[in-house]
């Protein structure tokens, strides 16, 4: 949901020292967690480069349970001793029917923010329901020295009998981080006499320089259930403000602008749970986001058109070096090359350039000593031979255009940390780029700015996302392709012998292709052979549900963008066969561990989210020891649910058991209502994987 509000506009001076260098964007090809870490390490955007200035700052620094502000019924917040009355029902309560067993709940939260004068008031009332819940009586309120101030902290404990223990202890100031020019501190305290049944309350005011617009968002979902909460924002008059909300509890009225104050009154907010395979948390929590802009544009089509024009103009200016690019192309391609061959050569050449996003982390001194030169256009970039991922893509665009292709810049929204909401008109959400080339009438999306990405393979977070294909008219919306699972495979082929003591031993070959190869190469790019060997051996250990001895025997190609990464091993699995009286049994599927504990819980709250579709095939041959023969093998299993599929075939010939297993995941996201069916599918997979091959003495 989106709402906009146009206000008057004198220009403000914003004093945060957060410069954004667009070229620091990290091109990536890794799973969510890795990328999240990587991205957080980089400067985040402060101003967009387009016509719309957005002031949307990171919501950090303020810790859980500490970010809650006071103001009641539109009255400005205060840090005096005027606590809200405690009603007998609150004192008596021993449990909350909507959160049975909860250690504590928020009875009430209030956050009132004033972006005109730069302050925010918080009020929190928590009911302690179990001994574990008493930990919420320890408070830590972080703040950034010289940027924000915490004042007027008041706290008290209301005992179960209604008597009051006011906090009169010491408030400690803890240094969390102190470095050059930055001091992140925290006010820390603990409330007295907190017992099961107590109510704890606290309030405080946070202040910052008027004019600084900082972290204007409301996150409603917390670790604890919230019975009631009120929020208000008095927006800055210097910018137009838009707001959007999502996942509000059913029956909640949308945030309303009442006399230039945006208000929200909400009840019964469930505690936030984390689950395996869920989308980014920010997309799931109940929240209201505010975006300030200098543009009061309410029509998102117009907004993006204007943004696209400005962006396109900037890119054209950066790549407008036709002659230099033609000379460069002449060095890369041969006159007789066919069109796609030319394109592949240019792609490979750009990918060979030094991609600064993939350099190891360097200290300031190292960077200074390296004296990297700035580049203002693609000619500079080509001459220097290095650049960041984004700029390398624009260099590729310029070269491809010079080679005579129809080619477009595309700015996209990377889905590793959040999803794109075009109606919000937040240009920062278009935070990544690719290049669209018309090849024999077909659209091919390319990203040579991602190291190790094979030709025409985008990193997973750039697949299936919206983007603006730019032109001088502003551009059109496009969707990047979402390759099916066959483009990202793990193929395991094993030739094994079963020994008399039930051990399997032999050779294993694992081939990773597409995205499965890309993220492994990226993750291990700065490691040495010893670490990479350990990494690959650990991967095999994760495939097998029992302990194995594994030794990598080849030297995989870690440095290229070849579509496949192949690893070969010597493998020993002790005790794979189990005794069954005079018979011996062994599970048909050796590499079953990946699915063994997936979706083990019956209940699901959030949608199911995989980074990308993928497929796995196991082709395992087991030679039986002399004196044994197969009594029975599992029947063929075929379970095809379209978005997921599983087959298991077992053959027995010449005392060799041959098992072929296929496993396919062909979706990225499923609503939680499909969880039960998906879980059932995984149960069937596990059941198939545990089917037994029965051996008996040959005589």
């Amino acid at each position: 949901m989106i709402h906009c509000c146009k206000t008057r506009v004198p220009v403000l001076v914003l004093s945060l020292k957060l410069a954004y260098i667009e070229t620091h964007r990290l091109k990536h090809a890794l799973p969510v967690d890795w990328y999240r870490t990587g991205l957080n390490a980089l400067p985040k955007p402060f101003f967009s480069t387009g016509g719309c200035r957005v002031v949307s700052l990171m919501r950090t620094f303020l810790g859980a349970g500490a970010l809650l502000w006071l103001c009641l019924s539109g009255v400005s917040a205060h840090a005096g001793d005027d606590w809200l009355p405690v009603v007998p029902e609150e004192l008596k309560m021993t449990t909350e029917s909507l959160a049975p067993g909860a250690p504590a709940i928020y009875l009430y939260r209030q956050v009132d923010r004033d972006d005109q004068s730069g302050h925010e008031e918080n009020y929190v009332r928590i009911k302690i329901l179990t001994e574990e819940g008493r930990k919420h009586a320890d408070l830590e309120i972080p703040f950034v020295k010289n940027l924000t101030k915490i004042r007027g902290i008041k706290a008290r404990t209301v005992r179960p009998d209604g008597t009051i223990a006011n906090f009169d202890g010491q408030i400690f100031e803890k240094t969390i981080i102190k470095a050059k020019g930055v001091k992140l501190l925290a006010q820390t305290l603990t409330l007295p006499d907190v017992q099961v049944g107590s109510i704890i309350e606290y309030k405080f005011t946070k202040e910052w320089d008027a004019g600084l617009i900082y972290d204007s968002n409301w996150t409603l979902s917390e670790e604890l259930f919230t019975k009631r909460a009120k929020f208000s924002l008095k927006p800055s008059t210097s910018y137009a403000v838009r707001w959007s909300w999502d996942n509000l509890p059913p029956g909640t009225d949308a945030p309303k602008d009442i006399s230039h104050v945006i208000r929200l009154d909400v009840q019964n907010i469930p505690p936030f749970r984390t689950e395996d395979y869920m989308p980014p948390e920010g997309e799931l929590k109940a929240h209201v986001n505010f975006v300030y802009t200098t543009s009061g544009e309410k029509d998102s089509d117009k907004f993006w058109r204007e943004y696209g024009k400005a962006k396109n103009s900037g890119i054209e200016s950066f790549i407008n070096k036709r002659k230099a690019m033609e000379q460069a192309v002449a060095q890369i391609v041969a006159p007789g090359d066919f069109s796609e061959a030319k394109l592949k050569k240019i792609y490979a050449r750009v990918q060979q350039l030094r991609n600064l996003n993939y350099d190891k982390e360097k200290t300031g001194q190292e960077q200074k000593r390296e004296k990297l030169k700035d580049f203002n256009n693609v000619e500079d970039l080509w001459k220097l031979g290095y650049g960041y991922g984004t700029s390398l893509n624009w260099l590729f665009l310029a070269l491809v255009r010079a080679a005579g292709f129809e080619v477009y810049p595309v700015i996209i929204s990377n889905r590793s940390n959040h999803f794109f909401h075009p109606k919000l008109m937040n240009s920062f959400e278009l935070n990544d780029n690719v290049v669209l080339v018309k090849v024999d009438g077909k659209d091919v999306y390319l990203d040579p700015g991602t190291k190790f990405a094979p030709y025409a393979v985008l990193p997973w977070s750039e697949t299936g996302v919206s983007g603006l294909r730019l032109d001088k008219e502003g551009g059109v919306w496009v969707q990047t392709p979402l390759p099916d699972g066959s483009a990202s495979r793990v193929d395991r082929k094993a030739l094994l012998k079963l020994t008399d003591d039930g051990t399997l031993e032999g050779k294993l070959t694992v081939a990773y292709s597409g995205l499965t190869a890309l993220w492994r190469r990226s993750e291990q790019r700065n490691e040495d052979d010893t670490k990479r060997k350990q990494f690959l051996e650990d991967q095999v250990k994760e495939y097998v549900p029992v302990g194995v001895e594994v030794e990598l025997t080849n030297k995989p190609d870690w440095t290229s963008s070849a579509p496949t990464l192949v690893a070969e091993y010597k493998l020993t699995v002790r005790g794979w066969a189990a005794a069954a009286g005079r018979r011996t049994v062994l599970a048909a599927v050796l590499f079953s561990n990946s699915e063994k504990h997936t979706f083990e819980h019956a209940e699901r709250v959030h949608p199911i989210y995989f980074g990308y579709p993928y497929e796995e095939t196991d082709d395992v041959s087991i030679d039986l020891p002399p004196g044994w023969k197969v009594q029975s093998t599992p029947a063929e299993k075929i379970q095809d649910e379209k978005v997921v599929a599983y087959t298991l075939k077992t053959e027995n010939k010449d005392n060799r058991v041959h098992v072929i297993r296929d496993f396919k995941v062909n979706f990225v996201m499923l609503e939680s209502k499909y969880y039960a069916a998906l879980r059932k599918f995984y149960e069937l997979v596990r059941t198939g994987d545990e089917e037994q091959i029965v051996l008996q003495p040959a005589s």
Partner: protein, 679 residues
Amino acid sequence: MKSKLFCNLPPEPWLSKLPHLRFCGFVLAAMTLAAPNAHAGDAPPWMRALTSVALPAHDDKDSVVQLYSEEILNVSSNGKLKSVRRVAYKILRPDGKDFGVARGYIDSETKITGMRGWCIPAQGKDYEVKEKESVESALPGVTNGELMSDLRAKVLQIPAADPGNIVGYEIEQELRPYVWQDEWVFQSTVPSFEAHYTLQLPADWEYKSAWLNYPEAKPVSIGMNQWQWVLTDIKAIKTEESMPPWRAVAGQMYISLFPPSGKAQQRGFDNWAELGKWYTGLLKDRDNASPEMKQKVATLTASSTATLDKMRVLAKFVQTDIRYVAIELGIGGWQPHPAEEVFLHRYGDCKDKATLLGSMLREIGVESYHVVINTDRGAITPAMPAHQGGFNHAIIAIKLPDSVNDPSLVAIVQHPKLGWILFFDPTNESTPFGQLSGYLQENYGLLVAPEGGEFVRLPTLPAAMSGIQRSAKMKMDPTGTLQGEVKEVRLGDQGRGQRQALHGASDRKEWVKPVETLLSHAFTNFQLTKASVTNLDRPELPFGYNYEIIAQSYGKPAGNLMLVRPRILGSKSSELLETKEPRRYSVEFDGPWRDTDTFEITLPPGFEVDDLPPAANADYPFASYHSKTEVTGNVLRYTRSFEVKQLTVPLDKVEDLKRLYRIIAGDERNTAVLKPAAR
């Protein structure tokens, strides 16, 4: 204490250093003869001298080797202490970048007066970083009740910590320690070429040194009341799972300093008794009871007549009503808050809780003593030299009155002077009065009495007091679907862990998850149809789960046969010792325990047993395992027991443990074969 239950911070010696350097051995020669003229930004001569040293023995997995380390402690005649620490590493692998960080600690007793780091790259000019570029940090967040501590770290990132380069740093500190004692921990996880410790004392001072886990090296006198110890080629300690604590294996030297009598209040410790006296001094008047406390004791014990009942109710009060909150500033890391404050605010840390309980017990005429201890068994033993830094927890030893003699009190030992004493940990909210958690059992603690400190060995509880007793009564239908109920009783630490997990859940819906996770290891396809928890909030009673399940495809058809695993759920085997590298250290168990399983499966109509797996029997001094599968009528019955009897499996018995785990793993995979019943 400096840290609470379950914490054991790595040792950080508070001393080292010296301004006027006197080197010996290779480094001295190299510095004086070969040091180039230094320029601003160049690495210092002591580091430059390392560029040509031979690397100590190492393997291809070592990320770095330590070329040099030096701790210098300088005590001036006015009692001021200064220290210098110098360390240099050669980076061998990319992983070694983590060693390109200088880290110094600051607290109320310690300040950093200088901090610099350097890198000598294989090619190019040296790098230098200074203290102003460092980052200072404390632990963010209130984790596990650690609200406030004055301990902070100053961290300096050294540039270019890349393979082939040498990184090093120097940290100077001024110290005001509460106890004049130093620890030189010279052995680490990486091999070391050369390590020095230099001590400079005023003329009339003395020192005593003691060595641990390493052959003693004699010092060389290098000046007036100045000594130096030098070690070379120190092997790395490769960490292993379930190994003894670091303090029990790493080479260390302890130095106690003794000023001439009357010159300084502080001094080092000659023995543990002295340390106990020092701690007794910190406890002085801390256990005074306020009128409100006396009133509370009277109220709490009003309905009890027996002393034991009164003790129980007071212990329960401190255990549960006093919230764990640690505020450790200055001596507050060692000295408890006054009992009356702890009582008033209803919060405190381990030593505060012990103090309050001791005070309240005294009101009913029961004497008690603080016991300082380390939660890692083996980190502190009487064989070690007396030192302050090895403790991280405080509990209480209660002198049992003659009238108190109850079989539920098992955490007891008979002390030659005090008679029967009961150990109790009021910080641990879910261990009943009379018992001890595994990590405290067989552990050594320093019992603090007015006449001094004395090591006591805490008792080992019977294995049967901890563990999981699981029983299942199931029926199988001809399709292989298993259905029935499971009862679990979790005793001792096994119950404690589950209680903590459930108490931490955001709501009751989450309670089912531990059971689902357990079942997912046993069944490929299951529904949990009913589940309940018993005695969640009554730690004095056994914790339990009762649940009912339907597990499809449990029986695996194989032709006309049906394969059934008699061991329905739960695993006792371990991959701990299935490693490429041979084991280097003993295996330490958390505590003694005894698990039992009794599983019954009523066979599907039309089937009878064709083959049963063999029984498994393994008996070792440290553990035993027995299982058998039987058929009685149409019921397949599997029973087993697994008992850990000794808390340490010595290195020479580790292969036996590996064998035992393999026997268990094999037994757990074993299968019974059913065939169509004869008509």
